[in-house]
Subunit: 335 residues, 2 copies
């Protein structure tokens, strides 16, 4: 958030924000690029659009590569569009370029909505730090929200910490598996349980779909019984079979998503969860900006740099160094 | 690091540190417990032992559950002990209690060295935040180092962000797979590539060992060719076959570990990597302590709490809030 101390937006960005809020898709795309690149104007952009946010419903989709998430997203989008809802789609790929193949294929598949002006699709990939990607995704969601999208679908791969940070932005999260995922879920069980509101076993015409559904139901039941987490709603995580390619099971999935949404809304849990999420977001942004201010100062302040070097060389222990650094009265004074 | 502002150690802890530095295992165990529980004295303890650290060589072991990591650790320990080296073993399990079964079994298996006074074994599991676990592991490594252990073996499961943060403390990292890991590695390829200095395919008498070794060699070759990372040493990541249960391949593994170590040492890369690690550790500790100071202040300072609530309720955008908070001159003044 280098923009934290940018007092004004330049005229061009100002005009972009106005155009975006008036419904200009190109302006939206350009603002998203700024957010993705963490340009100096990000803070100011997000301040300007803030008053228009908070209306969209955010649906998260995650699961291993090849589970057909994008096809599920595609079919859900078709149903939502048929109901007249506008949709924003953000496909986030936190993996290294080394594993990017599958996701690229998915992106191409989603082009079936590319000509619909009420569907806005954006892919995001890692640029620099992974932490930055979660932050950028959160800002992109808010831009789409301010733009007026009623449903925002976030798609991401796997359940690493970054993917979890990204998917936790969602109001409802669907975990998409395939019958072959049986083994893979063993290693990521805990992470999946933490985020899933709904399980989908896609490509359910293949062998092993029913056993996996049974296992998921058993697992969620066990997890629910043993979980220490506060249960703000009475929700037994469903496990559904779909064949997204043929449109099978997608209506049922959307119905479950809406049932979850409605339960969250009527119980007041949606607002409480969003509050907790905003609080966590503020904390993360605070840490991010603190870190940036320290690194900026590190470049300009010889004493601070010397302390860092003493630790790097092993001459000073890090605990003493932290104590010394945080006592500097001017540590957070912008330079 | 609540200990950051604890000026002195209480007499009991002071005595523990002295005893530990004099070689008392029980004192070491008790200090590790303090570090694991993030007691208020941690900062002071780590300051006291700092001068005695920097001599141990840290070997990391990671891989999926059931790959036989602990048996590999056990056999390596036997070889190192036969050479007269003292060994510290830290087994870290960042997974939820829900997946803990396999690891517990591993711990029991390691008891074969439990009666050897020159082998110190410690298991650590998640307590509260995962970030705290990586920090605690790093401190435990330094305690074992100060205690005089020549080799410190860290064992952890999987390649999530926390596991990566933990395993990055190692000078050399061995990734242990089994022939059946073929599918699983697809999803974690990027993470594995990032940490592995040596691949081991354990239980290599089973079907699929040779194809996996071939694939790993191909993968590491590809990755190396495409990687943007600075190559501070000329090291082609080897992929070895072992049958730890029968002791097969362990001598070859230790030889590779030593070859890697020797290359790091003679090239000067070891010291440079350790410097980078200490710098990153300082940064992480700084952020951690900053976060703690902010949460402490949040409890005592009504204005700060009001800013957080305004963001939680959606009345204030987080960027404006961060700007406001970081401008407080007394933000980091201990209360």
């Amino acid at each position: 958030m280098r923009g934290g101390f940018t007092p004004m937006l330049d005229q061009k960005t100002e005009a972009l924000v106005e155009k975006m809020l008036a419904g200009d898709r190109l302006a939206l795309a350009r603002l998203i690029t700024q957010v993705e690149n963490r340009s100096a104007a990000v803070g100011e952009i997000m301040k300007r659009v803030h008053g228009r946010t908070g209306r969209a419903y955010v649906l998260g989709m995650t699961g291993p590569p090849g589970s057909g998430k994008s096809t599920v997203v595609d079919r859900l989008t078709a149903l939502l569009r048929a109901e007249g809802a506008s949709v924003g789609i953000v496909a986030v790929d936190p993996s290294s370029p080394f594993t990017g193949g599958a996701v690229l294929g998915d992106r191409i598949r989603m082009q079936s909505h590319a000509l619909d002006p009420e569907v806005f699709i954006r892919s995001m990939a890692t640029r620099g730090s992974l932490g930055g990607l979660a932050r950028a995704t959160s800002d992109v969601i808010r831009l789409l929200d301010a733009f007026g999208k009623q449903w925002i679908l976030i798609e991401t791969v796997g359940v690493g910490q970054t993917e979890l940070d990204i998917i936790k932005q969602a109001d409802t999260t669907v975990v998409v598996l395939v019958p072959e995922s049986g083994d893979a879920i063993q290693t990521m069980k805990a992470g999946l349980m933490e985020v899933a509101d709904i399980f989908v076993v896609n490509k359910a015409d293949r062998d092993g779909a029913n056993p996996l559904i049974t296992e998921l139901r058993f697992m969620t039941h066990l997890h629910r019984a043993g979980s220490q987490a506060p249960k703000d709603i009475e929700w037994e995580i469903p496990a559904l079979a779909t064949q997204a390619q043929n449109g099978v099971g997608i209506e049922e999935l959307l119905a479950e998503v809406k049932r979850h949404r409605s339960l969250l809304e009527t119980s007041g849990a949606l607002e409480k969860r969003r509050q907790a999420r905003r609080r966590a977001g503020l904390q993360a942004l605070l840490v991010e900006e603190f870190t940036e201010q320290v690194s900026r100062r590190l470049k300009a302040d010889g004493n601070l740099a010397a302390t860092f070097e003493a630790v790097a060389d092993g001459r000073l222990d890090p605990y003493s160094a932290v104590q010394e650094i945080l006592r500097r009265p001017d540590l957070l004074t912008p330079q």
